[in-house]
């Protein structure tokens, strides 16, 4: 039976790798079962990090799996005639297999810091200020184009109108429909009126919890027009599953046109904006 069990454990790395190969290549039943197409200029780095870690851990996964299989196969009591190796360990080995993973992990840690800073710390700038260096206090950050306020169970969206400022009378309101221009840095301001929600754009590799009492900023630069899903990724009550929004990435002209029409429509119906407090 030792043979049988060894092979069962060998199947773990074999089928594990196979699953990922099929998924990455979207073969047969795995069609559309991999990272969705990335439409964010800043999202590519997340994908490459994911793949980098996948290959790295994949090597360790296969190596340890093969070693486990080989030891089980070879040292099966039914087959192994040699006496047991009466050993309590090896100092050298311990040192090697502590330092190697430590170095690898530290490398991953440092390697990815830049991507994190891009995603969450370095908000796009209008200008770098008088000193002409980014990352200093006098930087002028790009103002948000749109404010998203989450509530049970919808996304209330508010656009800075023609004046480019949120909280002025020319703001445009929608619910669940997020329009943005393509090939431009877009800054988005995120709030919540009631409970936690999470603003998730899978195709953009963007996710941020919306926290009542806090204001978050997100940014991205879409590089492909089309319609995509806006997902709520934080349990927010019974209607969590239907808190679906849609993201429309459009050319600048289309976006401007849509915004203008929307504004006129709003004026005509004298529809009051939703009771979202003004952005101070």
């Amino acid at each position: 039976m030792g043979r049988f069990w060894s092979i069962l454990f060998l199947l773990v790395p074999v089928l594990g790798v196979l699953t990922f190969v099929l998924a990455i290549n979207e073969v047969g039943p795995f069609y559309r079962h991999w990272l969705p197409v990335n439409i964010n200029d800043h999202g590519g780095i997340i994908d490459s990090l994911f793949m980098f870690i996948l290959y790295l851990t994949g090597v360790i996964f296969v190596a340890t799996g093969l070693v486990l299989f080989w030891f089980l196969w070879k040292y099966d009591v039914a087959k192994n005639r040699a006496p047991v190796k009466f050993s309590h360990g090896s100092h050298t080995l311990e040192v090697i297999w502590s330092i190697l993973p430590a170095a690898t992990l530290l490398f991953i840690a440092i390697y990815q810091m830049n991507a994190w800073a891009d995603a969450k710390l370095r908000r796009p700038l209008l200008s770098t200020g008088p000193d002409k260096t980014a990352g200093t206090r006098d930087d002028v950050v790009q103002p948000p184009l749109v404010e998203v306020t989450a509530r049970q169970f919808e996304w209330r969206i508010r656009y800075a109108g023609s004046d480019g400022q949120i909280g002025t009378p020319d703001d445009v309101y929608t619910v669940n429909d997020l329009h943005i221009p393509v090939d431009e840095e877009v800054v988005l301001q995120l709030k919540s009126m009631d409970v936690l929600h999470s603003f998730f754009l899978p195709h953009m590799r963007v996710k941020q919890d919306a926290v009542p009492g806090m204001k978050q900023f997100l940014w991205f630069r879409a590089n492909r027009t089309g319609t995509y899903d806006l997902v709520c990724a934080e349990l927010c009550g019974w209607g969590h599953y239907k808190m679906r929004g849609r993201l429309y990435v459009e050319s600048r002209q289309q976006f401007d046109k849509w915004l203008k029409e929307k504004f006129q429509e709003q004026e005509q119906t004298e529809l009051k904006g939703p009771p979202a407090e003004s952005a101070e």
Partner: protein, 610 residues
């Protein structure tokens, strides 16, 4: 109390006698004292074991409810659907779906994994493996079991009234959890949930105080710290983790209760209004709860695996007939995991709105915690290298622990990488990760431990043939269930969605979810084999002597099952527990209590101790 002296343990048999008669002589009183309000660590351990196994069944059925809905949303559940949800025409309502995910996790974590490791195996094994006649504080020990009952009742009773349980997730994030108007499940059920969790905490706290004292004070003569089996080391470190982390959860729980009942607003910001209810007074911060909760619950995930790692180490050494490879590195990695475990909680909050700089520091600490985990895996592989591997049922489960923990540990690295976590946070990638560590890891380790120590507990073997079938089916189905979840996670498929197919991007995933559900049903069904084996073996299993596996540690020197007071002789320890295949003796094991043969200096064969 210096319980380690020989005198205080003299003639454990006499001792046992004294205790047995201290209770009432009348039949029912005797029964109550022996089996119900018992102060004997073994009975308490078994009480924990039976209770947690029953809850394991409940938790498993709840999981099938979740799986049903994810695979076939809004379809009538076969067999039980019409009975349970007649009002909804046999469907799971979206409201009930949130309580399903909440209660499944709550039951599994707080009523199964934590109490089965510390409560059942900690209780049963600690005194036996260190050579003590009982715990340091038997009454406290009894209370630690009985304090689980208010928790069972508080949380269990929620199943009987709408909406059938709390529904804010096992993480209970406010404001959803703190404002009754936020959801029907956030009304009374949530308060009961918080009170229940507090009782679990009190129970664990009593247990850990006891374990720490017992391990420090009551070891048999010769049992130095570095001669302890790794199971005991793991229990020791786990108890420390609990003692330091639990008070934070208890305090946070009380704060949430007062937020709900008295409007204290610790976790609620100014002016918040849910569902058009009165705005709350506010002044608080929702993120505060997350910090406090994870300050406990990250260490808790190690509370949920370290004891299993310890037990698996003992089982692997025994069935490789070889000393554990790198005993001290193993001890140091357990300690390292525990130490680092206190400074990584923020990795659950990378996208929560916590300051991104803070995220970076938590990221580095989290990366480093994968290191001791890796060291442990290498040492397990080192242990089976060059051994004589016996493929018994406990060994198969332990080997699968190693094989599966590798997967769970490696997927942790993806999530530790903050930019990647932006994408996979709160998706099925996380679900895959923690089921690989908790089910494929801990639960499989626990199965191994049950098969391994069952003969000690009941004096009879479990059936090996059915044990192997149980292993084989569980192993196959669990991988069918959980491995594909990595793939779902790569698409960004979120957790806790009652109907994910509202979204275009997730619609193609339904067939795969149906496959996963079929595997999950197979996995739960396979446990019938285990249940039958477990109960029938109590009556029909073959009887065993003291040491059926030819193992070294002290519990195998006691009778099977051990009487009250455990040992019928005073154990004296000469060496560590892993001297399998030692050249000093002719047999391939070398019990800790066996005096060295004449001509061998008593120091030799002690390597594990230094």
């Amino acid at each position: 109390m210096s319980g380690t002296t020989v005198d205080s343990h003299q003639s454990a048999a006499d001792h046992a006698h004294g205790h047995a008669h201290s209770g009432s002589h009348s039949g029912i009183g005797h029964f109550l004292n022996t089996y119900v309000f018992s102060r004997d660590h073994k009975i308490i351990g078994l009480q924990f074991l039976f209770s947690t196994l029953l809850w394991f069944l409940v938790g498993g059925l709840l999981a099938l409810g979740i799986r049903w809905q994810v695979a076939f949303p809004w379809k009538t559940m076969p067999v039980i659907g019409p009975a349970l949800f007649s009002a909804e025409g046999g469907q799971i309502s979206p409201e009930f779906y949130t309580t399903l995910v909440t209660m499944h996790a709550t039951v599994m974590i707080f009523f199964v994994i934590i109490p089965i490791l510390a409560g059942a195996f900690g209780n049963y094994l600690i005194p036996l493996m260190i050579g003590a006649d009982d715990m340091a504080f038997p009454v406290l020990n009894m209370l630690s079991y009985w304090f689980m009952w208010p928790a069972f009742i508080c949380i269990g009773s929620a199943f009987f009234q709408q909406p059938y349980g709390a529904g804010a997730g096992w993480t209970s994030y406010p404001p959803l959890s703190a404002i009754p108007e936020a959801a029907p499940a956030s009304a009374t059920a949530q308060t009961m949930w918080l009170i229940g969790i507090t009782f679990v905490g009190v129970s664990s706290m009593m247990g850990s105080v006891n374990y720490l004292t017992t391990i420090i004070q009551m070891r048999a003569p010769g049992m130095t710290m570095f001669r302890l089996p790794l199971t005991i080391w793991a229990m020791f470190i786990t108890a420390i983790l609990q003692a330091f982390a639990l008070p934070v959860l208890t305090a946070a729980g009380f704060m949430q209760v007062t937020d709900r009942l008295l409007g204290t607003g610790f976790f609620l910001p100014e002016g918040l209004s849910v569902n058009n209810a009165e705005p709350v007074s506010g002044g608080g911060q929702p993120l505060l709860w997350q910090h406090l909760f994870w300050f406990y619950s990250h260490p808790a995930v190690y509370i949920m695996i370290l004891p299993a790692m310890g037990m698996v180490s003992d089982i692997i050494a025994c069935f490789s007939r070889k000393p554990i490879f790198g005993y001290k590195p193993m001890v140091y990695s357990i300690s390292g995991i525990a130490g680092l475990g206190f400074i990584v909680w923020g990795h659950h909050m990378f996208v929560s709105g916590m300051h991104p700089m803070l995220g970076m520091t938590f990221m580095v600490a989290t990366m480093m915690i994968a290191l001791p985990s890796a060291v442990k895996v290498f040492n397990w592989l080192g242990t089976i290298w060059g051994g004589k591997i016996q493929f018994t049922t406990p060994m198969l489960f332990s080997l699968s622990f190693v094989s599966m923990f590798i997967i769970g540990g490696l997927s942790g690295i993806f999530m530790a990488a903050t930019p990647v976590d932006i994408f996979i946070h709160d998706t099925y990638y996380i679900v895959a990760h923690f089921h690989y560590v908790l089910f494929a890891g801990t639960a499989m380790g626990v199965f191994g431990a049950i098969y391994f120590w069952y003969p000690k507990m009941f004096g009879r073997m479990m059936n090996e043939f059915w044990g192997k079938w149980h292993f084989f089916l569980t192993f196959v189905f669990l991988n069918g269930t959980f491995f594909l979840m990595h793939v779902l996670g790569a698409v960004g498929f979120p957790r806790r969605l009652a109907d994910p197919y509202e979204y275009d991007i997730f619609r193609p995933l339904q067939p795969m979810n149906q496959f996963i559900t079929i595997c999950a049903i197979g996995m739960v069904a396979s446990q019938v084999i285990f249940a039958a084996n477990f109960f029938l073996s109590m009556f029909f299993g073959s009887r065993v002597g003291r040491n059926p596996w030819n193992a070294n540690s002290l519990e195998w020197m006691a009778p099977s099952p051990p009487g009250h007071g455990n040992f019928d002789f005073q154990p004296v320890v000469y060496r560590g527990p892993y001297e399998y295949g030692s050249p000093e003796v002719d047999i391939d094991y070398y019990p800790q209590t066996m005096p060295p043969p004449a001509g061998v200096s008593p120091i030799a064969g002690n390597r594990g101790a230094h």
